[in-house]
Symmetry: none
C-alpha cells in the first residue's frame, strides 16, 4: 500500500560526520537516486545527519511517516561512532540482539584473512529484533531490513558494499512491494541559444495543460526542459512523454539539441560522423576548452583533426597565418573570427574550421570590446560565417558558454538551420 | 546566542526536484560545508527536498529549531516550480511583497543584455516582509536573509551566483553573529605524484601523535592531506596547524604543490610569472585540456603563448613540423613527446615547450601501447626531457591526471627538483 496515490516514494538517509563536513562526497546518494528512478519510483527526500543516535532516529521516524521506504547508508562499521543499529532500534522500539549466524560470518571473515578479530567487530552482528539480515558484501558489515510504518533498509557506507546490497536486496524488495502502484518516467529536452524565461514563455500554455509535468534546469548555457509523466505502467507514462515531446519540439524547434541524454559534443560528433566531415578549431579566449570538449568523446579522432590555441597576438599571425588586415578591427571581431576559421581549416585541411575569439575577463586585456564579447567564425565549403554575442557571467561561465556556442554553431550548420546561435 | 554549547551549528537545505532525482549533482553543498568549516563552525544537517512549498517550509521550521542558521539553495528562479520564496513566507508567516529596488535591478539586467523580460522574471522581486535582499550576483535571482528562530539565508541554486552571495553576505553575517564560541581550523596540503597509501606511509607516525587530526582525500590524481585543529580561538588552532604543516613538509617535500588552496595551474602560473618565462603546449590525448587548465587563470596570457592540439598523425608532422623519424617508435613514445615539445617551443618561440601524447582509451586507436600509457616531454633552454607513465582509470581520469602531470612537470622543473613526476 502506498502512502500517497501514484508512485512509491523512497527517502534516503545518509549517516556520517565526514559527509556533513564536506570532506567526503556522498557518492551513494546518486547511485540510489538512479536506482529508484529507474524503477519508476520517486525520491521523496534526502537527509544527511552526523553520527548521532537521537538525530538519526528522529530522521528515520520523520521520513517513515511520508515515504514508503527509507534507505539508510553508513554507520554500520565496527567503531563506537557507528550508531545506525542503535538508531534504528531507538526509532522502532526493537531491542538489539546478537545474531549468531552473522557472528559466524564475521569470525570466518577474519579467519580467512588471517587477521585478529576484536570484540568491536562483533558489534556488527547485533540487529534489531525481527530484522532481516543482508549478508556482508565484501566487507564485515551486514546490512538489514525492517518492516515498520515504512520499509527500512540499513546499508553500509562503503560504496562498493552499498551498491552490492542495493542490487541484491533493496531493488528486488522495492520492486516486489511497490510495482503495480504506478510508474513515473522523465525525459530531458536539452536546448541551447535561449534563456530560461524565454524557453518557458515559448512553451507558455503547454505547461499545466497536460498531465505531464514541466521543470527547467538552467546550467551554464544550456536550458533543459524536464518532462515527467506518471501513469499506471511505465509504458503508458513513456507514451504520454512521447506525445508531449512532439508538442515541445514544435515550439522550440532548432533550439533543441538533445532529447536522449547525449551531450552537445556527442551530438556534434555524430553529426560530423554521419556527414563524413572533419573539423578543426582555432580558439583564443576559450583557451583549449572547445578542443577538450570535442575530444571528451571516445573515437573523436575520426572527425577531429586538431586545433590551435592562439593566445598571443603573434601566434594568430604566425601559426594560423592570418593576414595583418584581418586584425584591423582588433583580435575580438567578426573579421578576425572569420580569418581564424578560414586559416585553421586550411592548416588542417578539414571540411569545417571553427574559430572563437573573445574577452573572457576579468580585465579586457587591452581589447576595446567589453568583457563577455565573443565572436564565433565558421568556415566551410561555401564560404565563411560569423556572429558576435555578448555573454553574461564571469570568466569561467563566459568560456563555458562560448565553447558550447561554438559546438552549437556547428550543429546548426550541419542541420541546415539558418540562425547559428 | 548559540542553541548548543560550543560552536555554531549551521544547517543546509537544498531545494530542487532535479537534485533529488539525481539528474544534477549538488555542488552547492560541498561549497557551503567548506565555508562553514573554514569559519570553525559545524554543519548540523543537510536536507534535500523537492520543489514543494509545504515540504520546504516544514524543513525550514525543523532545521531552525536546532540550528543557529539555515542556508537554503535553489528555488529562486523565475519559473512556476521555483517556490522557495513562498516556502520561507509560509514557514515564517511573513507575506511576500514586491521590492521595487529589486524589480529595477532585474529590468536593467535584461536591458543591458538587450533581451526581452517576461512577467515571470518579476516574481524574483517578491520577498518576505522584512527580509534583507542580497542583490543578484551575475544572474537575475536576488537572494535574501530573514532573522527568525534561526538566521535564514535563501540563495540561488546556480553555483556561481550561490558562491558569490555566500562570500559577500552569508560568511560575513555568520562570522559577526557566532564568532567567539570556539573554533576549528583546517588546512589542505595538496600533493601530486604519489598514491594515497604512499603519502600515508610517508607520514606514518605523525598521524595520531599530535592534537591535529589527519584525513586523506584522494581526487583524480592529487592526494590532499587535510589537517584539522580545534582550539578556543582560531589563532590558536591556526598555530597548531602551522606547526604540524612544517612536519608534513619535511616528509613530503617536493610532492607538495600547494598549502593555501591554490590550484596546480595557479601555482604553475605564478612560477612562470616569477621566473619571467613563457610556455607553449602540444597535446594529443589530452585534446586541449592542458591549455584549458592554464587559461583558467586570469592573466595567463602573460606567460601562455598558445598551443597545438595535434589529434591526427598528419597534424603532428605538418603543423608542429616534427620529422618522420620522431614518430618511428609510434605517436605515443618518449621520442615523439620530445620532438613535439621541441617543435611547439620553436613554433611559439616560448621558453618552455610541453608535450603530452598518450592512449586515453577506451580503445588503443591502433597504438601498440596499452590504454593509460602517457608520455610527457619538456623542452627548455638546456635541452629536452621526457618520461613515460602508466595511468589508471577510464578515459576521463587518464586525461585529467595526464593534464595535471604535464603542469606538475613544469612546476618540478622551475622549482629545480630532479624527479619530474
Amino acid at each position: 500500500m502506498l502512502k500517497e496515490r501514484g508512485v512509491a516514494r523512497i527517502a534516503v538517509l545518509t549517516v556520517g560526520d565526514e559527509i556533513l563536513s564536506g570532506d567526503i562526497t556522498d557518492s551513494n546518494f546518486p547511485a540510489i537516486a538512479s536506482a529508484v528512478t529507474s524503477l519508476g519510483f520517486v525520491v521523496s527526500e534526502h537527509r544527511t545527519v552526523g553520527d548521532d543516535t537521537e538525530r538519526i532516529a528522529g530522521a528515520i521516524r520523520d521520513l517513515s511517516r511520508y515515504s514508503d521506504a527509507v534507505i539508510i547508508t553508513g554507520g554500520l562499521g565496527p567503531t563506537s561512532d557507528d550508531v545506525t543499529r542503535q538508531s534504528v532500534s531507538l526509532a522502532t522500539g526493537r531491542e538489539l540482539e546478537l545474531r549468531e549466524d552473522l557472528a559466524d560470518i564475521i569470525r570466518n571473515y577474519f579467519e580467512a584473512l588471517n587477521r585478529k578479530m576484536t570484540e568491536d567487530n562483533l558489534q556488527q552482528a547485533y540487529l534489531p529484533v525481527g530484522a532481516r539480515p543482508i549478508p556482508p558484501a565484501g566487507g564485515t558489515a551486514p546490512g538489514f531490513a525492517v518492516e515498520e510504518e515504512a520499509m527500512i533498509f540499513a546499508l553500509p557506507g562503503v560504496p562498493r558494499e552499498m551498491v552490492a546490497m542495493l542490487k541484491s536486496t533493496v531493488v528486488p524488495d522495492l520492486e516486489r512491494a511497490f510495482k503495480g502502484g504506478g510508474a513515473s518516467v522523465t525525459r530531458n529536452i536539452m536546448t541551447f541559444g535561449a534563456g530560461e524565461s524565454e524557453v518557458a514563455s515559448l512553451l507558455g500554455d503547454l505547461i499545466g495543460e497536460s498531465p505531464v509535468g514541466y521543470a527547467f534546469l538552467a546550467l551554464a548555457g544550456p536550458i533543459t526542459v524536464k518532462l515527467t509523466a506518471s501513469a499506471l505502467t511505465a509504458e503508458e507514462a513513456a507514451r504520454l512523454i512521447d506525445e508531449e515531446q512532439e508538442k515541445v519540439k514544435k515550439r522550440l524547434g532548432s533550439l533543441i539539441y538533445s532529447t536522449d541524454g547525449r551531450t552537445m559534443e556527442e551530438v556534434v560528433g555524430e553529426l560530423l560522423r554521419e556527414s563524413s566531415m572533419t573539423i578543426s578549431i582555432a580558439e583564443s579566449c576559450t583557451g583549449g576548452l572547445v578542443c577538450s570538449h570535442i575530444t571528451n568523446v571516445p573515437g573523436s579522432s575520426d572527425y577531429f583533426l586538431g586545433g590551435v590555441v592562439s593566445y598571443s597576438m603573434g601566434s594568430k599571425i604566425n601559426i594560423l597565418g592570418i593576414p595583418d588586415e584581418a586584425l584591423s578591427e582588433g583580435a575580438v571581431s567578426k573579421l578576425a573570427a572569420e580569418a581564424m576559421a578560414k586559416a585553421v581549416r586550411l592548416l588542417f585541411r578539414s571540411d569545417l574550421g571553427v574559430a572563437v575569439t573573445g574577452v573572457a575577463g576579468p580585465g579586457t586585456g587591452g581589447e576595446s570590446k567589453p568583457v563577455g564579447t565573443v565572436c564565433l567564425g565558421l568556415a566551410h565549403n561555401d564560404g565563411v560565417e560569423s556572429f558576435e554575442v555578448k555573454l553574461p557571467g564571469d570568466r569561467k561561465l563566459i568560456r563555458s558558454i562560448a565553447s558550447l556556442g561554438a559546438l552549437n554553431a556547428v550543429r546548426m550548420h550541419i542541420q541546415g538551420h539558418n540562425r547559428l546561435v
